[in-house]
C-alpha cells in the first residue's frame, strides 16, 4: 500500500511538471506573439486555456484522493501540500499567458509604439525563474532557487522601468496611450508571474527542507517618480 502511494505521488509530481511546462509555454509564446504580432500564435494560446484548467482540476482531485486514502506524513505530506499550492500558481501563470494573448489580438491592427525590447527581456527573466522553480521541484534540490530574492527585485525594477518608459511615450503623444496602457498591463502580468515563481520556490524549499523561508522580504519599493 505504501509503495502504491509513493508510485501515485511520483505520478502526481510528473503531472505538475507537465502542467508547469504548459504554463511556461503559454507565457513564453504569448510574449513572442505580442512582439511579432502573431495572431495565429495568440489564438493557439487561447486554446490552451481549457487544457491548463483541466490539469489544475485533475491534479487537485488526484491529490485530494491520495490525502484521503493514505494520510501522508512528514516529507510525503509536504510534497502533497506543495503540489496543491504549485498548481494554483501555475494555473495563474498560464492565465496571464492567455491575458497577454488577448492583448496581442487587441493590438494586432496597430504597429507597436516601437520595437518591443524590455517586455521580451523581462519575460525571459521571469521564464527562467519559473523554470528554476520547476527544476527545484522536479529534482527536490533547492540549489537552483538560490538568488531568487535578487532576481525578483530585478523583475520589479524592470516593471517600473517599462512603466516609466510608457509614461514618457504617452505624454509625448496621446495616440500611444491605448497601446502603452496595454504594455504596462503586460509588464504587471509578468511581474505577477515572477511573484508566483518566488512563491513556488518558497513551497519547494519547504517541501525539501521542512523549513519555511521568505524569499520576498519587504524592502524599499523601486523609485517610480517621474
Amino acid at each position: 500500500m505504501v509503495e502504491e502511494f509513493h508510485n501515485e505521488l511520483e505520478k502526481l509530481k510528473k503531472q505538475v511538471v507537465r502542467m508547469g511546462n504548459l504554463a511556461q509555454d503559454m507565457l513564453k509564446k504569448s510574449v513572442k506573439a505580442l512582439k511579432e504580432k502573431d495572431t495565429d500564435l495568440a489564438k493557439e494560446i487561447l486554446n490552451c486555456k481549457n487544457e491548463i484548467a483541466n490539469m489544475d482540476e485533475k491534479i487537485e482531485q488526484d491529490a485530494l484522493k491520495l490525502l484521503t486514502l493514505f494520510q501522508p506524513m512528514a516529507k510525503d505530506m509536504r510534497e502533497m501540500a506543495t503540489v496543491l499550492k504549485m498548481i494554483t500558481y501555475l494555473a495563474r501563470i498560464g492565465r496571464y499567458g492567455k491575458d497577454i494573448a488577448n492583448i496581442t489580438l487587441e493590438l494586432a491592427h496597430k504597429p507597436h509604439v516601437k520595437e518591443l525590447v524590455s517586455i521580451p527581456y523581462m519575460a525571459k527573466e521571469v521564464d527562467s525563474m519559473i523554470n528554476d522553480a520547476l527544476t527545484a521541484f522536479e529534482n527536490e534540490d533547492v540549489e537552483s532557487i538560490d538568488g531568487f530574492t535578487a532576481r525578483e527585485k530585478n523583475v520589479d525594477e524592470l516593471r517600473y522601468s517599462i512603466f516609466r518608459e510608457c509614461l514618457t511615450y504617452m505624454m509625448e503623444d496621446s495616440k500611444t496611450i491605448k497601446r502603452c496602457a496595454r504594455y504596462i498591463m503586460v509588464a504587471r502580468y509578468l511581474e505577477r508571474c515572477g511573484d508566483h515563481a518566488v512563491k513556488m520556490a518558497e513551497k519547494v524549499f519547504y517541501m525539501v527542507t521542512g523549513d519555511h523561508i521568505d524569499l520576498d522580504p519587504p524592502g524599499p519599493t523601486p523609485d517610480c517618480e517621474l
Binding site: V2, F5, H6, P72, M73, G210
Partner: protein, 255 residues
Amino acid sequence: MSKKTSLEMEVKDLDLWYDTKQALKKVNMPVYKNKITAIIGPSGCGKSTLLRCMNRMNDIIDKCRIEGEILFDDKNVYRKNYDVVELRKRVGMVFQKPNPFPKSIYENIAYAPRIHGIKKKKSLDGIVQQCLKDAFIWEEVHDRMESSAMGLSGGQQQRLCIARALSIEPDIILMDEPCSALDPIATAKIEDLMRVLVKDYTVVIVTHNMQQAARVSDYTAYMYLGELIEFGETEQIFENPQEELTEKYITGRFG
C-alpha cells in the same frame, strides 16, 4: 505547545537487558507534566519495555537487568529501598487488552481505594462515581453498577480500566496500545478522554497507530532497536522529522 512545561519524570541513560539481549540502549527522555507523550516505533523496538520501566513493571520479569535512572520527584525509582507500591500507585497503567476484574463494575473501581484504606461506603461511592464520570462511562453504566464488568463492550471495558486507574489518583497514566483492540468509535472516545485527562494527569502512550500519535499527543518519541532516535513536539516530528530514520518510519519507507 509553547506553553510552560515542567518535567514530571525523566529517563536518564537507561539500559535494559532481557538476559543477554539488550532491549534499551542509553535512553534519555523527558516526560512533561500535563502533556501526552507518545512513543512510536516498529515492533520490538523497546517502546513497551520503556513504558513498563516507568512504574517498574519489568521487575517481575526474570533475568531483566536495568542500568541508568528514572527520576520521579527528583528520586531515582530504581534506587534501593524505593517504595514500588507507592510508585505504582502514583503511576497507573492501562493495557492493550481491556482487563477488568471479573467483578461488578462498582467493585472494579472501589477495589484499589479500599485496599489503600478507604473503608466508608459513602466515600467509596463518591470515588466510584467520580472516576466513572471522569472516564466518560458513568452515563452508560450508572444503572447497572452491580453487573459484571465482563458484560461490557470492549470500549466500555477499556474506559472502565481507565476509571480504575484514576481511582487511586495517580500522577501519571501509562497506556500501552490502549485502543488497538477497539473499533474506531470506541477509539475516538478514548482519544477524547485522553485530551480531557491530560488537564489533570500526565499521560504516556505507546501506539502503533501513527495517526493516533499525531492526533492526541503533545510530544512524540521515535524508538528503533532499543534506542531513542528522536524526541520532539508532535507537530515537528510528523511535519519535519530531523532524523532520517524517523522520516523513513513515518512515511512507510522502512526496511
